[in-house]
């Protein structure tokens, strides 16, 4: 069996406010998230000797990690800026854990923020939209980011008879969960009909099938499990991780109904010794409704081709067979871009500590987080547990 990462723990986790933030820039949001995550852990900036971040599209720096270390005036021995789109926020945890295991540093601060809602110029927003396609063989045809996911949704519907309502049910469930999170950006309940009658974006996807556009950030603190025992919070252990990369551009995908989440998940299960049936709660990347359907199947959380029925029967709701994104996900909690899945991570930490209040999954001991970037291109899976799981 491959070695897991059980010797590393998440000891601090925190979010900033999300939604529309007009009085702070991205570096300030990173600093606030960091300060809160360190306070949560009972640590200070003086304890940090590793820093990981990703670039902010609304406040780009050539070397974002170095720029953030400078801003925070910390001088780490491990300093990394990562880019893997949406998969980055989960992938960085694997990198940070390896750095600690290798002895490069002892305590890593991962903090990221972006302001896609208020911070982008018109030109930056346009560039971001058109950057999703291959510059030579896709973009000239005018595909938008939602259109690329719409192509995947259509392929899934054709292959498995997945209904339009099943896509809508993902959005409805995320909104229901966000209603239980006081900090979520969108909390008013919506119905399947609301989704179906919302403005068409790229068929079959409507506006309510698309994630929010937000400002915000989040941070976590990692250290050895041994050290974690002496800190403030109940340690959340990294039990295993995995990555999968199958393509960057959709027209190079080998299969339009299955993603490299299969490989990513398999590695994470093998390294952790955890099986899909052992997962109590999942944080799944949900930039568009069909992504949740793909990930449920690819990660073995429901049988292949049956994710539509699974979601319609309430399988991903709190109290369902596999509760997904109790915080409301990218669809209803917030989506500030690259940092988006950080909120899935902080939510899983909150759940495993038993601190999620109204939206707590009872006795949550094992959580899975999965993020993807590109167009179901790059994948990163993390399995988290507690001392009780080990």
């Amino acid at each position: 069996m491959t070695k897991g990462l059980g010797g590393i723990a998440i000891v601090g986790a925190a979010d900033t406010a999300v939604g529309k933030i007009t009085d702070l820039d991205c570096q300030a949001l990173c600093a606030i998230a960091a300060e809160r995550a360190l306070a949560d852990a009972g640590l200070t900036f003086a304890d940090v000797d590793g820093l990981v971040t990703c670039n902010a599209m609304s406040q780009p720096f050539l070397y974002p990690a170095e720029a953030l270390a400078e801003y925070l005036q910390i001088f780490p021995s491990y300093c990394v800026g990562l880019g893997a789109g949406g998969a980055a926020a989960v992938s960085v945890i694997q990198h940070a854990a390896l750095a600690i295991e290798a002895g490069l540093c002892e305590t890593v601060l991962i903090t990221m923020a972006d302001r896609l809602r208020s911070g982008l110029t018109r030109e930056q927003a346009r560039q971001m939209q058109s950057a999703a396609g291959h510059p030579e063989f896709e973009t000239p045809y005018g595909p938008t980011a939602p259109a690329l996911y719409a192509l995947l949704a259509r392929a899934h519907m054709h292959a498995y008879g997945t209904s339009r309502e099943a896509l809508a049910a993902v959005a409805v469930t995320m909104r229901e969960h966000a209603g239980l999170h006081p900090g979520a950006q969108k909390r008013d309940p919506i119905s399947i009909d609301d989704v179906l009658s919302s403005r068409p974006v790229a068929t079959p996807l409507n506006v309510l099938d698309c994630s929010l556009v937000s400002d915000g950030g989040a941070a976590i603190v990692l250290t050895s499990a041994q050290r974690a025992r002496h800190l403030r919070q109940k340690p959340v252990l990294l039990l295993g991780s995995g990555e999968g990369h199958s393509h960057e551009h959709l027209s190079a995908a080998h299969d339009l109904t299955r993603s490299a989440a299969v490989e990513s998940g398999r590695q994470a299960y093998a390294r952790s010794g955890i099986a899909p049936k052992d997962i109590d709660v999942a944080g799944l990347y949900d930039c568009f409704t069909p992504v949740v359907l793909f990930l449920l199947e690819d990660l073995g959380l429901c049988p292949r081709g049956e994710s539509g029925a699974f979601v319609l029967e309430g399988g991903i709701r709190l109290g369902g067979a596999m509760p997904v994104n109790p915080h409301g996900g990218l669809l209803s909690h917030c989506h500030p871009g690259n940092p988006g899945s950080m909120f899935h991570v902080t939510e899983m930490v909150t759940q495993l500590r038993g601190q999620a209040g109204e939206r707590q999954v009872p006795n949550a001991e094992v959580a899975l987080v999965h993020a993807q970037g590109g167009t179901l291109s790059s994948h990163s899976t993390l399995i988290l547990g507690t001392e009780a799981t080990r």
């Binding site: 030579e136 000239p140 045809y141 005018g142 595909p143 392929a155 054709h158």
Partner: protein, 142 residues
């Protein structure tokens, strides 16, 4: 940008022969002389056997729709007058999957599996973009 403001392909020295073919009304694909693999986009090596003996050959220009979407919120202003416009992934008979728009095709006509034929749209003097339209009855192969 073309005169209509559509984003034009960012070409490379390796893809010159592809765009040259398009100007002549030919959709060119790379064929591997060692293993017979057919590929698009063009590359320096065959993605199946890693060999470098590649030859350009004209595609028959036929394929089937693997997936499609009608875009209501356009990529840029240039596409605004065309909404809803269809973007599809087409599986060419020779094997490669390519992105395209579909022309002369109604919303009710467009389905997964629809047989389509290549056509070329001049975006400017050098870029004649390969596009697809539904195959006519006499063109349908199976």
């Amino acid at each position: 940008m073309s005169t209509h403001g559509h984003i034009l392909p960012r070409t490379t020295p390796l893809t010159e022969a592809y765009w040259d073919g398009c100007r002549r009304g030919e959709l060119r694909l790379q064929h591997c002389l060692d293993c017979g693999h057919v590929q698009l986009p063009p590359r320096s090596h065959c993605t199946r056997c890693r060999g470098s003996r590649l030859e350009w050959r004209a595609s028959a220009g036929r394929g089937r729709v693997a997936s499609f979407t009608w875009i209501h919120i356009p990529l840029t202003e240039a596409w605004a007058s065309e909404v809803p416009y269809a973007v599809a992934l087409v599986r060419l008979d020779e094997g490669p999957l390519m992105m395209t728009n579909l022309h002369d095709c109604s919303e009710s006509q467009l389905t997964v599996g629809l047989e389509v034929t290549v056509t070329f749209e001049a975006r400017d003097e050098t870029i004649h973009l390969p596009q697809f339209r539904p195959a006519r009855e006499e063109e349908v192969t199976s």
